[in-house]
């Protein structure tokens, strides 16, 4: 009998977001947290852990590259480097 798969996220220190570090198998959320501590934070790599059932993750697109992200591709005016400012103007 296969145990459910969990995705593990670790906050490496206060002030930083949780980051995906890998996955593991565990029968329930409580055990998943315990296993995550033993597998991913044996050297104080984290101050907080999230475990999320892998089956509950909703992802953007099957091949992680399609028209979904294209609309942002032709909008350079959303970046500060798009604008020319004379050298003598400061603090911009």
């Amino acid at each position: 009998m296969s145990q459910p798969l969990w995705e593990v996220f670790v906050r490496s220190r206060r002030g930083l977001s949780h980051t995906h570090v890998g996955s593991l198998r565990a029968p329930d959320a409580h055990m998943a947290l315990r296993h995550a501590r033993d597998v991913y934070t044996r050297r104080q790599e984290g101050v907080s852990i999230w475990v999320v059932p892998a089956a509950e993750v909703v992802a953007s697109s099957p091949d992680e590259k399609d028209a979904f992200f294209d609309p942002a591709g032709d909008k350079p005016y959303r970046h500060p480097t798009f604008y020319t400012v004379p050298d003598e103007v400061q603090h911009l």
Partner: protein, 309 residues
């Protein structure tokens, strides 16, 4: 405005990505052969990590001091962790963890032949850390740049932890070499037995390694077996000299740039690979027993999870 670009096939897009040194992620299209090769390699790697706990685990209760004991426990626990990172990476390719374990238990998938040798003295624990983990590091560092993202990331974690493994082994070796004449003899004896099997960890010579070219083209492998083996020999011979030990290779010579070792006896490797090494049966039997003995724990945890759902 969209420029007209000739359509690329999925195969071409895949190879473009590899050639651009970009990473392949789990849900990208990939050739079946790439997926199969990776599943086989990652699974074999995962199996090696967990079987690798046995030769050293053998000495935990007999470690010569509390300091050495806590170090050894931490190292063996790390190897379990390495196995888990790697099974996780294999699962991103669609492999099933229970099935992989079953393949190991029934001998349909292999693990590194190095773990089929016995650890007959405490010096073997030192030699394993120094040589076996040392050879593993040589093999694994290039894998942190492997084209498959989850494998590369798992290897990055593994490599961070391996350097402690190698250093503790060298330190334990140094202690023996600075000890009594008997201790020094133990150290030499361990080097004598582990040297050649460690060189064999890099796999067949390049002219006898048929799958290497494809793995290189796919960005899974970055250096050839012989290149990595040479690096290991160059790094390790001076360390043996520092310890005052003799590398058990009468043909070993310095060519002005590299340490050139004598020919490897591959018939021995083949024997161990076939399953007739000193400990093949024992390792597998122990692994299967551990799995079966743990069944009631998994069943109880599942029942508890069901009850609280």
């Amino acid at each position: 405005m969209t420029a007209v670009v000739p359509a690329r096939t999925p195969e071409q897009e895949f190879q473009d990505r590899i050639d651009a040194d970009d990473r392949v992620e789990p849900r990208d299209w990939m050739p079946d052969g790439y997926r199969r090769t990776l599943v086989r390699q990652i699974a074999q790697h995962a199996h090696s990590e967990i079987i690798g706990m046995q030769p050293e685990g053998n000495w935990i209760t007999r470690a010569p001091s509390l300091r050495r004991k806590v170090i050894l426990v931490a190292k063996v626990q790390d190897e379990a962790g390495h196995g888990l990172y790697l099974y996780g990476a294999a699962e991103t390719l669609g492999a099933d963890r229970d099935e992989l374990l079953d393949m190991l238990h029934t001998g349909r998938q292999k693990y590194s032949t190095i773990f089929n040798y016995p650890t007959t003295s405490w010096a073997d624990v030192a030699a394993i850390g120094w040589l076996v983990d040392g050879a593993a590091i040589m093999n694994q560092v290039p894998l942190t740049r492997c084209s498959y993202g989850p494998y590369a990331r798992a290897m990055t974690r593994v490599c961070k932890e391996e350097s402690f493994h190698q250093r503790q082994g060298f330190e334990a070796m140094m202690t023996l070499c600075h000890g009594t004449a008997t201790q020094k003899r133990m150290a030499q004896d361990a080097l004598d037995r582990w040297w050649w099997p460690s060189l064999m960890m890099f796999g067949p010579n390049d002219d006898a390694s048929p799958h290497s070219a494809q793995s290189m083209a796919w960005g899974i492998k970055r250096f050839s077996n012989d290149e990595l083996r040479q690096r290991f020999v160059d790094a390790t011979v001076p360390q043996a000299q520092f310890l005052g030990l003799t590398v058990p290779d009468p043909d070993l010579r310095w060519d002005g740039k590299h340490w050139i070792s004598g020919a490897i006896d591959w018939t021995e490797f083949q024997t161990v690979m076939r399953g007739d090494g000193p400990c093949n049966r024992e390792r597998l039997r122990h692994r299967v027993a551990a799995h079966e003995d743990g069944a009631w724990v998994r069943e109880a945890a599942a029942a508890y999870a069901d009850k609280h759902r």
